[in-house]
Symmetry: C2
Subunit: 355 residues, 2 copies
DNA sequence: ATGAAAGCGCTAACAA
DNA sequence: TTGTTAGCGCTTTCAT
């Protein structure tokens, strides 16, 4: 890979007997320049294959036309989609994406923010680990606009966009109840984040509204993958083990609401091994509507998160924050998830619940 | 988000009555500086919360301690994992990641390369669209080290790491044959890339070695998602439709080898609707070993791609290329995928094949 | 051990 | 319309 030195404005200026400044303005499309000169400069730039040095540009402008995107785990299908949609929209507005993966590690989150600061990013979009608000507070202090995604840190007063998890939990639960469930168990990852707490709150609200009790053991925790080196894809295996434990109980629930569709896979397996049928013996409601969920057997009823919409809004919020104007839209946006009803809650007989 | 101006070397130099140079060396750990001075500078830097400006640093050094990572689609679980492992390893070597998503678009690939050039990345890792080698050739011409991932462009002579897809296709097919299959169909995305062509070549080799014929219609194509705006998650739906078409044939194959595990989902659905059982009526072999594949019913036999290993090697190859030394390892590396045998090929009766 | 000076490639203010 | 000057924050000679 040979290293032909790159051409600079100065090179072009020299061969054309112009000043660097003139060349700069000709190329950047500013006015105050003769049309013939501009054409000349453009032709020469074209000829030598001029590529602007955006590092130099960033240095003088103090900002790099780059967004930092800080994500916990790209193998989460929701975040994978988010990456795509954010990259696309950022690109369409002329921004590049500096991607950092925290893997739920507070330590790396701190280093990621440090890295963003060094890089003079124009702004950042982040899913915080939610162990501490400090790193993100720091960004704000030095004036880097930041939009929080999916997990808020309310103390900071930053713009935020996320899923309404409370509503999601509520809808999932209410749906199960409407299909005849009276005893419901929740399977959630054992991670201290608001998204999970909110879903559980929604679950409790739905149960309360229906006058149903929530006995101890209704909320089961799947061991977390936090603190693993690389961000690994989710392991339905761990949900499977928790599900097996649950199925040893004397009284089984009518329905299980899981925190993500991967957990539903483990639950399906456990149920199958115990000879229990979904939905007749037990209903299952997922969360996420991952690409595989509609194709499970039976197809999984699940709460769909509008990843694309969330991503687009995140970028828009960030652009507004950068522009500095008051925004038309609210600073905090909770997007309502929608319930996708499929066979896993389409009970034909009410055998067990009618006992 | 207030904008307290960032402290610079000059600020520290001023308050300490030192030269910028001295401060720079004190902080960068170079020698030729008194221990007391160094301690003093460090303390002051700490006190004011000094953050180095890596844009300035990049400008003078001509390189940005950043890798460009150009990927077709983060919603492909294989690439999602790749992003994680590459980010981790790059970070451990002090590099940041500039992420670009092509969505299989040649046009955006070209713009992505342009963007990498502007940004003075230290190097890049790319899954090329394989429509043209030109963009990537350009990177090499101006001296940006580039490692190709998963899809090679042999003309360029760049370092490359990928899966041995031919071997993967071979192993999948040979396995089906060993389980009694004599008539096999392949379902692949309709995309003109070497990975797919290689898998099909492997399929043909296995069939030939077994003395089995490959009649017309053995290779079925699933409509591609190329040219969609955002990179969408794969739609098993399209594979389902192709599978339905196949199942209308007079003579059904004993086994179907699919190009990725998402396609297996669509196939499972189609088979179920037709009342056909996996594996007894038809065996299914996937590709990718996605996180859900072990939890399908029946669990899917599939070819596992070593995503983490491929990602790590990609970074190592790039680091070697940047260092400029001859590498111990070969410039082109094909990683052998492994077959994960599960129930979808565990045939208990040979009813149909023994007719 | 420390300082002074130059320059990376660009943009922005001000002159001409 | 074009040129001159200065400077973004840092690293790297070369002096001292």
């Amino acid at each position: 890979m040979a290293g032909t030195r790159r051409h600079t404005l100065r090179d072009i200026a020299a061969t054309l007997n112009l000043s660097v400044n003139t060349v700069s303005r000709a190329l950047s499309g500013k006015d105050g320049i003769g049309e013939k000169t501009r054409a000349l400069v453009r032709a020469e730039a074209e000829r030598v294959g001029y590529v602007p040095n955006s590092v130099a540009r960033s240095l003088v402008l103090g900002s790099a036309m780059t967004f930092g995107l800080v994500i916990t785990n790209p193998s989460n299908p929701f975040y994978a989609q988010l990456i795509s949609s954010i990259e696309l929209r950022a690109r369409n507005h002329g921004y590049s994406l500096l991607l950092m993966v925290t893997g739920e590690s507070e330590e790396y989150e701190t280093r990621a923010v440090e890295s963003l600061l060094r890089s003079s990013v124009s702004g950042s979009i982040a899913v915080p680990v939610q162990a501490s608000a400090d790193p993100w507070r720091r960004l704000g202090t030095v004036g880097v606009p930041t939009v929080l995604l999916n997990r808020d840190l309310p103390d900071l007063g930053y713009r935020f966009v996320g899923t309404d998890n409370e509503l999601g939990g509520y809808r999932a639960t209410a749906h199960a109840i409407s299909r005849g469930a009276r005893s419901i168990v929740v399977l959630e990852e054992d991670l201290p984040i608001t998204t999970i707490a909110d879903r559980i709150a929604g679950f409790r609200r739905a149960m309360a509204e229906a006058g149903l009790s929530v006995p101890r053991g209704s909320i089961m925790r799947v061991p977390t993958r936090r603190h693993e080196q690389a961000a690994l894809p989710w392991q339905p295996q761990q949900a499977y083990q928790v599900a097996r434990r649950m199925l040893r109980r004397a009284r089984l629930p009518d329905a299980v609401v899981v925190g993500n569709d991967y957990f539903a896979l483990g639950l399906y397996r456990a149920l199958e091994e115990c000879g229990l049928k979904v939905p007749d013996d037990m209903m299952v409601i997922g969360f996420g509507d991952y690409p595989f969920s509609a194709f499970l057997s039976p197809p999984l009823t699940t709460v769909r998160l509008p990843a694309e919409e969330v991503g687009d809004i995140a970028v828009d919020l960030l652009l507004e924050e950068i522009a500095g104007g008051r925004s038309a839209r609210p600073l905090k946006q909770l997007i309502a998830p929608t319930l996708v009803e499929r066979e896993s809650t389409n009970r034909t007989t009410f055998a067990r619940t009618l006992v």
